[in-house]
Amino acid sequence: MRAPDLDLDLDTFEGPFDLLLTLVLREELALGEVDVAEIVLAYVERLAARERLDLEGCGEFLVLVASLLELKARDLFPDEEVDLSELSPEEAADELARRLEEYRRLKHGAAWLAERLEHESDRYFRLGPAPLAPRPERRLAPGRPEDLAAAVRALAEEPPQLSLAHMGLRFPPIERFLDRFRATLRRRKAFMLDAELEGLSRLEQAAAFLAVLELRKGNEVRIEQAAPFAPIRVSRLDIERSSEWRTARSA
C-alpha cells in the first residue's frame, strides 16, 4: 500500500494522506492541530489487514511521518533550540517512558469519560433558568480601580520565554546519520546496521534507522536482511544515481 493512498479520518482532517500533506505544505492546515499518532495508527491498522509486508511502502511512510513530526515540532516550538547534550540517552529513555505512561493514563481517562457520556446520554435536564422563575438580581461586590490598572500593567509585561525543556523528546536530526552513513559507505562497500546502532539511545537508533530508509529511498543503498530480526546489512548501490538524486534534491 502506498502511503499517499492512506485514507484518514482525523479530528481536523478527513481524506487521503497526500491531500493532508499538500494542505500542510500550502499552510492551509495547521500541522500543530494534526494528531500524527492517529495517522500512524491508521497506517498500522491498514498494514495489519494485509498479508504481505510492502517494505518499500513502509519506508516511504516512515520518511513522510518523520518529516511531518519534524515540521510539527518546529511549528509547535518555533524558538526551541535543540540541545541534546542536556539529556543523556538514559534520561531520554526515562523521559520517553514517563511520557508514554502519562499519555496512556490520559487516554484511559478520556475513554472513561466517553463511556460515561454514552451512559448518561438519557439524562435530560434544563440548562438555564425555568420559564417562570423569578428574575435573578445580581449584586456585585465593589471593585477597586487599582485592580484595573494592575490588570492592564500585567498585560503589558513581556511574556517569559516559554521553556520547553520538559518536552524532552527531541528527535535527533536525521542528517547527522545520513552524513555518517554516506561517509562510511565511501570507505567501505557495506556495513552492518546493528554494529552502527550500538551504544546509541533509542531515539538516536530511530533516527539512524530513518536515515537508512532515506538512503534507500534515494537509491543510494541496498538493505538486506536474511530473516526477520536477523542483522541488517546496508550496502552501497549505484554511486552515480545517488549523486543525481542529491543534485535533484538540493535544486
Binding site: P131, L132, A133, R138, L140, E146, A151, V152, L155
Partner: protein, 201 residues
C-alpha cells in the same frame, strides 16, 4: 376520571403520559403548547389535555411546591406562591464574589482603551474572549457601542455606568493613571499590542 384518588390514577395509561409531560415540562426553558407537548410525547392532543388536567390537580397551590401554570404561550412549571420568599432569597442571594481575573482584565482593557471588540480583547489578552464578554454584558458591566469601521466590522463594547458605580469611579477619567505605559489610550493600546504580538499567535 380526574376526581379519582391519586393512587388509582398511577396505574392507568394516562398516568404514563402524565409522567412524560412532567419530564418535558421540567426540561423546557419556555412554556410548551399542547401541540408541542403532543409532538414531543408522540400522542394526540386530546389525551395531552387530559394528562395536563391530571398534572394540574397534582401540581397545585397548597399541595405542592411545584405548580403547573397555564400562560399565554402554553404550560410551564413555576414555584408555588407560598414559596415566593424562599425563591426570592435564592435568586437574590448576593453573588458577593468579586470579578474573575478574566472579567477584570477584559473590563480593564475596555475601560482604559475605550470601546473594544471581542477580537481586540482576544488579541490583547491572548485568549478567546466571547464567553467573558458575553458574561459582562449580561451583568450589565459592558454594553455595545457601535461597530468597528468598515463593512461587517465587529461589535464594540464599552464599560457602563454600573461599572463606574461598582468601581467607585466618577467617570472613566478617574481611573488610576498608567504613565509608565503611556499618557493616552492610543499609546497604552500600542504598548499592549506590541506585547501581544510578541506573545505570538
Amino acid at each position: 376520571m380526574e376526581n379519582r384518588p391519586f393512587r388509582l390514577i398511577t396505574s392507568g395509561p394516562l398516568e404514563a403520559l402524565a409522567r412524560t409531560l412532567e419530564a418535558l415540562l421540567v426540561v423546557a426553558s419556555a412554556p410548551l403548547s399542547v401541540a408541542e407537548l403532543a409532538a414531543a410525547a408522540d400522542d394526540d392532543e386530546a389525551r395531552i389535555e387530559s394528562a395536563l388536567e391530571l398534572l394540574a390537580e397534582r401540581f397545585v397551590e397548597g399541595r405542592s411546591g411545584i405548580v403547573l401554570e397555564h400562560v399565554s404561550g402554553g404550560y410551564a412549571f413555576r414555584a408555588s406562591r407560598d414559596e415566593a420568599p424562599a425563591c426570592a432569597r435564592l435568586v437574590e442571594r448576593p453573588v458577593e464574589r468579586g470579578l474573575s481575573p478574566a472579567a477584570l482584565e477584559t473590563l480593564a482593557v475596555a475601560a482604559y482603551l475605550g470601546p473594544v471588540s471581542r477580537p481586540d480583547v482576544a488579541r490583547l489578552r491572548g485568549v478567546a474572549a466571547d464567553t467573558v464578554v458575553a458574561g459582562l454584558v449580561e451583568r450589565g458591566l459592558l454594553t455595545e457601542a457601535g461597530r468597528e469601521p468598515g463593512v461587517g466590522g465587529a461589535v464594540r463594547y464599552r464599560t457602563t455606568e454600573l461599572f463606574e458605580r461598582i468601581f467607585g469611579l466618577e467617570s472613566l477619567s478617574a481611573l488610576p493613571r498608567l504613565d509608565d505605559l503611556g499618557d493616552d489610550a492610543d499609546s497604552i493600546r500600542g504598548r499592549l499590542e506590541a506585547v501581544a504580538a510578541r506573545r505570538g499567535a
